[in-house]
């Protein structure tokens, strides 16, 4: 009898587990409206869009496109979700988020691990992660970082990759620098207090705040060393096929809003403040951050090929660089075709 009870219990457990319990089964691609019918003529197509972890003025173009009705006019019903990069890439790959903004250097290891995402439009045409220091520190080049204290959130992610490239250009490794870890992104405060000589940060955030506080800053950028791909829009491989029309419309509307914000940053700031009222407390700082953000949207490549254009040569160089890193972030050889797709960019 006891054996029978045990068997019954095991069978019930198996049956319950196999029923899935409503968990997200990703094997079937989501259904999209027929591409032959204009999206705006139908019920708006719902799109879930993943932005960075914290709502910020750096996402002004998305807020503006939403508020100005660019998404609505394109037949879209857009919902924003704020997620951290690793979560967002997985969710996009799974199909739970339709399109999102993610770091190019995260897309490479993710794809090498079989996460089916593609980078579909460049947002940051210049790599936003930099090393910065107080001008008074005497740090002018990557070589000046030798034996200096450098604050960074952790030995992983885009800042760590950028740091290795930067130091490598001066014949240094991360062992030649005294790395101080600030996992809660306190490296900016540490730099201001003099606890470190230099820090990693985002060109449109911490250095701007340092300058705004009256301390001139020196920036060490990686673009001329390895053209690492900055943050851009990513979509799932299935989504690019199945939701091609609405995703194309989303990309076009977002790029239109980016052009608007470049032409009139104040418009972008107003949209960001309307979306995140807390940003209105210090409009001067937020405008400075937005202007620094706008600078990173553009490069010689995007000036020649248009906003959103993907620099495949830069991606090739980045794959080669990341493949040689000592912590092996790239699990297998990946081609640029596996990483990027221009299918959603305006012709």
């Amino acid at each position: 009898m006891r054996r029978l009870t045990s068997l019954a219990l095991a069978t019930m457990l198996l049956a319950a587990a196999c029923s899935g319990g409503g968990s997200p089964g990703p094997s079937v691609p989501p259904v999209s409206p027929s591409p032959s019918v204009p999206a705006s003529a139908l019920t708006p197509t719902k799109l879930t869009v993943g932005l960075g972890y914290i709502p910020s003025v750096q996402f002004a173009q998305f807020y503006l496109a939403q508020q100005a009705g660019y998404y609505r006019d394109a037949g879209l019903d857009v919902t924003f979700q704020n997620k951290i990069d690793p979560d967002l890439i997985t969710l996009v790959g799974q199909g739970a988020v339709d399109i999102g903004i993610a770091d190019g250097t995260s897309v490479i290891p993710a794809v090498s691990q079989g996460i089916p995402v593609r980078y579909v439009a460049t947002i940051y045409a210049q790599f936003p992660n930099v090393v910065y220091a107080r001008e008074s520190s005497g740090i002018r080049t990557a070589g000046d970082l030798k034996s200096r204290k450098l604050g960074t959130p952790g030995k992983f992610g885009s800042s760590w990759i950028m740091l290795q490239a930067l130091l490598g250009s001066a014949g240094l490794t991360t062992n030649d620098v005294s790395i101080q870890l600030y996992p809660d992104f306190g490296q900016g405060a540490a730099l201001q207090q003099g606890a470190v000589d230099a820090a990693t940060g985002f060109i449109n955030n911490e250095p701007v705040q340092l300058e705004q506080s009256g301390t001139p800053a020196t920036l060490l950028k990686v673009d001329s060393i390895v053209p690492l791909p900055g943050n851009g829009l990513i979509a799932s491989s299935d989504g690019i096929q199945a939701k091609s029309t609405p995703l194309k419309a989303f990309v076009a509307a977002t790029l239109r809003a980016m052009n608007d914000v470049i032409a009139d940053p104040q418009k972008g700031l107003d949209a960001a403040v309307a979306a995140v009222p807390e940003l209105g407390k210090d409009r001067a700082l937020q405008l400075a951050i937005l202007k620094a953000t706008i600078d990173t949207w553009q490069s010689a490549y995007t000036k020649a090929h248009g906003l959103g254009a993907i620099d495949r040569d830069g991606w090739t160089k980045t794959v080669a660089f990341m493949t040689g890193l000592p912590d092996h972030p790239v699990a297998r050889q990946v081609s640029v075709d596996e990483l990027v797709s221009e299918a959603l960019l305006p012709k």
């Binding site: 095991a10 457990l13 198996l14 587990a17 196999c18 899935g20 968990s23 997200p24 089964g25 990703p26 094997s27 951290i84 990069d85 690793p86 890439i89 997985t90 790959g93 799974q94 995260s106 290891p109 993710a110 090498s112 691990q113 079989g114 996460i115 089916p116 952790g154 030995k155 992983f156 992610g157 760590w160 870890l181 600030y182 996992p183 809660d184 306190g186 912590d327 092996h328 972030p329 699990a331």
Partner: protein, 252 residues
């Protein structure tokens, strides 16, 4: 202590069932490996991570933090628990703070501790100790209070010194309860070490989780790390159970 074959069979049977259910969920749900890897791919990655030396330094770091954090938390918990049991004033004075400290999420406190004490070993030991402290303090308090009052009366009648009362009556009487607290505390120490590593650190299984998830996108390695953490927790719990059986005998 003899291990019965039927006990082993139940443990092995449970593990086999768990793996079968897991595999069934993967197959029937059609989950891709980056969402839910199969038990086979996790097992393969587990072996690979141990063979290529990925796992070992992280495990050593986490075990060191657990040992120090548990020792600090348990020692403090024993002393404070005894004080709470024997001094009404201490109980009134300390209880609100102890309960408040326990009710505060350690995840929220960990970044602050990392800020104050750095991201080295000290902050992790403190986080571990904080999380271990409460169950051991409470179990000690309950255990000491449950000591037979007539035995204590007898000690007084025979003019036993306080240290004699402690060593001969109170500790033996409270030991089952204290060791119950140890069982809970030792598993919480594992959580404390991982949380401490999430708040900052260069090595440890918490760091490896972050690397696997946030930098390498290696879901099988993430699961292999979780399995290692679970095995450490089970091993430590079993160590306390064995100690308990040795000191107070098997229950039930």
């Amino acid at each position: 202590m003899r291990v019965r074959a039927s006990d082993v069979a139940w443990v092995v049977g449970g593990a086999v069932l768990f793996v079968l259910v897991w595999q069934a969920v993967v197959v029937v749900g059609g989950f891709r490996p980056f969402v839910l890897p199969s038990p086979f791919s996790v097992a393969t990655r587990f072996v690979e991570a141990w063979r290529d030396g990925t796992m070992e330094p992280h495990v050593a770091t986490t075990l060191g933090e657990i040992a120090l954090g548990f020792a600090a938390g348990a020692a403090t918990g024993l002393v404070v628990g005894y004080l709470l049991a024997r001094s009404r004033m201490a109980e009134r004075l300390l209880s609100p703070y102890i309960v408040a400290a326990q009710a505060t999420p350690v995840l929220a406190v960990a970044p602050l501790l990392a800020l104050w004490f750095g991201t080295g070993l000290l902050s992790k030991v403190i986080i571990c100790a904080l999380i271990v402290f409460f169950p051991i303090a409470v179990s000690t308090m309950v255990g000491i209070r449950s000591v037979d009052a007539e035995l204590l009366e007898m000690c007084r009648a025979f003019r036993a010194t306080p240290s004699q009362v402690l060593a001969k009556v109170e500790v033996p009487g409270a030991l089952p309860s204290i060791l119950g607290g140890f069982r809970v505390g030792v598993t919480l120490a594992v959580i404390g070490a991982i949380v401490g590593e999430w708040a900052g650190g260069e090595r440890g299984l918490g760091v490896l989780i972050n690397l696997a998830r946030g930098s390498l996108f290696d879901t099988p390695l993430l699961f292999a790390t979780l399995a290692t953490i679970a095995l450490i927790g089970i091993a430590l719990y079993m160590a306390v159970v064995l100690l308990e059986r040795r000191l107070v005998g098997a229950r039930g």
